[in-house]
Each structure stands twice: as C-alpha cells, then as structure tokens.
Symmetry: C2
DNA sequence: GTGAAAGCGCTAACAC
DNA sequence: GTGTTAGCGCTTTCAC
C-alpha cells in the first residue's frame, strides 16, 4: 500500500508538503503542487480513510441503518439522501442487522439515520451520549443527540378516512400493523380522529404486523366472519394487498363487497386489480430533506424539523 | 468522546492492560479484566474504528457497491451476503453512486463486491493494484486483485430458449438489455446457441436497456409492425413486463398473439397477468456463497469460483 | 514556500 | 500479570 511517505520520498519533498499540496493548501507553489499531484497519481496514491479520520475526528460519512434492503420504500429514500450528501461531498453508507450496532458504537460516521425497527430505543439512548447525532425515522424518542424525523401520518390518515366516510361506508374496520410502532400508532390516531369527527364507531380492529402474510391471516378471519365490515382501513399497503389477494381467492368482490385502503403507496399497489387507494409519500424528496437537515446541523446551523406530508392517491379499491 | 486513556485512568491501569482486557487477552487476570470491562461499560466506551483500523490495517468490513437500492434483485443478494458476514463477525456496508468511488479509493474495507454497472472496468483495474481484493459480479474482468463471480446466464438461457422452441414458436425475437453488458451478452449467447441447435434464425432483435421504460418503447415498435414476431425472448423481466403492459393496453393478447419470456424472476412477475415465465436465481444463496468465498480468501485459503445456476420457472406468458 | 515534529486512539512487541 | 513504548498514516502547528 502506497502511503504519503512513499510519495514524499519520490517527490523529494517532506510529507507535510505533500499533504498540503494534495489538499490544495495555498501555501504551496503551484509548480510544486502540480509536480506532487502528478507523482501521487502516477503512484496510484490515495489517502487512507482510517488515518485521516483518526486525525480529523470526522469521517465525512453519514450512516443509514435500514431494516432490510427489500422494502420498496427505502429505494427512493436512500436515493434522496445519497443525492444530497454526494452534492456536499459526503459519503453515504448503509447497513442492516448486527452490522449496524457495530458501526454505531464505533463511530464510523459523522451522523446516523436510523430506520431500522430492530434497533431498540434503549440501545439508541444508551449510545447517544457523547455520540455523533442520531436521526431516527418513524419513532418518537428523546435524547441528547437524538433527532426525530417523521411522516405526518395523522393528518394523512385523517384525510383518507374522511374520504372513506363521505363515500358512505358505515362498518369501518381498522387493520393494525405492529401495534405499538410509531407508524401504526399515529396512523390509527388519525383514523380515530376522523371517525370521531363523524360520530362513527370503529366497527372492528384486526391485528397484523405490516406484512403481506399477516394480511393473509386477517383475510381468513374476515372470510369466516358472518358480520363482515364493509370497509378495511389498513395501516400499510402490504397488509392490504395480502388481504385483497386472499379475499379474491375466496370470491369476495372488492370493492363491491368490501372496500379497502392502504398506506405508503408501494409500487405493487398500482398493479393489483383493483388498484389500491393509498397515501403516497415522496420518499426521494424526504430523503433529500433529511440529508439537508443533517448537513445543516453538522455545519453548526440551527435546524427546524418539519413533518413530511403524505398525499391521498385515489384509485378503485373502495 | 471517551477513549481508552480515560478508561485506563479511571481503572487505575495502563492503556495496554485495558486494551488487552477488552480484547480478551489471556494474560490479564480474570479479576482485572472484569473490573476493566465493567468500568468501560459504565463509561460507555467503545474503541474508535478509525484508530483500530489504522493500527490493525484491517477493517473487518466488506463493502458492496450496487447500482441502486431499488432493484428487486439486490434485496436477497445483500441479505445473503450480510447473513454470512455477520456470522463471521464482519460488517457489511453498502453504497451507490459517487460514494462508491471514494470508499474504494480510500480502502474503507477489507474486500469489495462490485455490482454497480456505473463503475467502469478501467477504474477498477486502475485501483486494483495493491488494493484489497475486488469481487466483480456480472462482468468479466481480469486484474491483479480482481475476482469474477457470475451467474450461468448462458446455460439458463439455453434451457429457456429450448423450451420455447419445443413449444413450436417460429418467429422468435430477442430483446436486448444494455447491449454490451455481461448479462446481456451471455444471455444472448445462450439464446443463439439454442436457436442454432435447432437450425432457427433469429427473427428480429430489439434494443432496450433493462428498464421497464425501454420495454414500452419496444412495445411501440411491435405494435406498428406488420410482421410481428410470435415470441419475444427478453434479456430481463423488467423489459418483459414493460412490453406486456403496453401490448395489452393496445389489445394484443399474450400469450395468444405473442408469447414472451423474462430473466431474473423478480417479485412483480408473479403478479402480472399472464404471469411471466422466467429464470430464477437464488440470490440469497448466491450472496452467501459470495461472502463465504471472500472470507476464505481473506483467511488465506485457496478459492474456487463456480458460476451460480439459474432455474426455469414456467408460467403462462408463452 | 517548505520541513520537522507532535499527536489523533489504538494495538502489540518488549521489558519487567 | 502488568506497564512502557513505538508506530500505524495522516494533518497541522510551529519554526525557519
């Protein structure tokens, strides 16, 4: 591995001069700088991140922890974050699972974005002290270096439920995702708010876990039910799609017999028949805003945290 | 930030004793070790990755470069890689775009997996000298520390094409993805091999770019064509799905008027109507194999590189 | 405009 | 069994 020392020797200069030259310090004469740069290039030299990070106490890296790489949602979010960071010469690294814990503990980044449901609040609070800033998505968590960035689930779900109620549905049920997750709680809250506003009672509640499989199970319950709801408000799209699939397999017509709605507006939702009515969040844009917020904080600016809005996408599922 | 020095001071021991204790060196008495560990925990101490990496000249990190986070394929692949690495106490970091170049140059990892079509062969060859090992997926590239890991596109496509020919199709066209990409070339090769084996001429060739959008364009060409092919062998699923969507919008029946096949077997392909016949690759398993190969290499073992097989998934699209 | 040297936080060879 | 110390590759202060 070629180090700054090797370059210095070959260039016939001190390592400090080489360092200055490569970092475009104005003290070095253009002639020397160019000569050094050429030699460095020739030798295929690149500064070691480890050494530089150690010295600079900053990594110019932002870390993003996600639950899994499959989610249709992460795609755009990560794109948005990366887009903004790259413009500002920051590097984005992403990880899942146990790797995440290690990166977090060992301060591999100047800031972290947590969107991994498997990382506990407790762990985050524990490491946060004296840590680089941690931005948590979709949870509500207080702590020293912890910042909360969320989607405005409540208002979006309120708007959706209002639309449903105005269509004349009466036996409206709610399909929960992971019951005490931030997303589920706030979405349910928005749902309840609308139901209350129209003096309607919740007809039924189903307990799922945000997955398509949990949707299948709920569909089974519904199939065997003699007093079915006429509308299912689901806490996310994946459960809604699972339910649709299974109900249709059992010849229950959607939306004629039961209406259904989702949340997230994932890619697949457009391809189902009927196409799912859902709440769309512009994740690319949200990612950019998240990155901007982080960069501002790192620059020492004051930051304002605003909730990201969702918009109702009306299709034919109710 | 709390350093090893702080822990040493508080524990009343030298920093080396602390280092040994935390790294479970057998020289340190259990009593001292436990005391030190407790204090470290209490102080919320974690060793700095930067300092450790610099000293150890190893990061215990494997880097994966991907084209984008959206691809349905990456999900399982990354899961598989992570699964295997985590078991062996390695950390996986993932990145896209310009971040990738920086990480690669600055040796942020003990090995890298490249599955990003935007990274040029030239760049890889340039940095490879004296670099940690680089594993390239889906390309054929020679170099010092470069290893090629690929899917057996040729044989899988041969098998698929053979099945198509045996169904009696005569006017068989091929839909190219990015024309000189490894995947496209080898898939086309397998296609040609089967056509030749049955003495059939390629009826037509269309040029796409692996995206659904390029599928739409090709569909337009086909719609306006007076002498349409009766079968479209596509270089990947996404183009096939784009073509199906557009053809159906124009009331062309699939498979009655035109048959169609894909490659990759992405999630969506099951939900289309008709469901797409395709080649499935077990990406999770492939990811695990890739990780195992890398770990073996890092351990100094000899490695054998075998192509990953694909299997034909027959559905109703031809 | 350039170089010598200190030191970032850690590991590990060596001394005791 | 524990401590002293060199040094990983780099940046940056200070001296010239």
């Amino acid at each position: 591995m070629v180090t700054i020392k090797d370059v210095a020797k070959k260039a016939g200069h001190s390592i400090s001069t080489v360092s200055y030259a490569l970092n475009n310090d104005s003290r070095i004469s253009e002639k020397t700088a160019n000569k050094i740069k050429e030699i460095a290039k020739e030798m295929n030299y690149f500064p070691s991140a480890a050494a530089r990070n150690l010295k600079r106490k900053t990594t110019k890296t932002i870390f993003v922890a996600i639950s899994d790489f499959g989610g249709p949602v992460y795609n755009e979010l990560l794109d948005g974050i990366h887009h903004e960071l790259a413009k500002n010469d920051y590097t984005m690294i992403v990880s899942t699972g146990v790797s995440t814990d290690k990166i977090l503990k060992q301060r591999g980044s100047d800031a972290s974005i947590i969107s991994d449901i498997n990382i506990t609040d407790k762990f985050l609070v524990q490491i946060s002290n004296g840590h680089s800033p941690i931005f948590v998505l979709d949870r509500s968590l207080k702590g020293n270096n912890i910042y909360n960035l969320t989607i405005d689930n409540l208002n979006a779900m309120f708007e959706l439920t209002e639309d449903i109620i105005k269509k004349g549905y009466k036996r409206i049920a709610f399909v929960h995702g992971v019951i005490d997750s931030y997303d589920n709680k706030t979405r349910f809250e928005g749902f309840l708010k609308a139901m209350n506003a129209f003096n309607l009672n919740v007809y039924k509640e189903y307990k799922g876990s945000f997955t398509k499989e949990s949707g299948y199970k709920i569909a089974d319950e519904i199939i065997n039910d003699k007093q079915r709801p006429d509308m299912l408000v689901c806490s996310n799209d994946e459960m809604a799609l699972g339910i649709i699939e299974k109900l249709q397999l059992n010849n229950i017509l959607i939306p004629e017999e039961i209406g259904i709605s989702g949340f997230d507006d994932i890619e697949l939702s457009k391809y189902f028949s009927p196409r799912l009515t859902s709440i769309k969040v512009d994740h690319f844009n949200w990612g950019r805003r998240i990155a901007k917020t982080i960069l501002n904080l790192l620059k020492g600016k004051d930051i304002v945290v605003k909730k990201e809005k969702g918009t109702l996408v009306k299709r034919e599922s109710y």
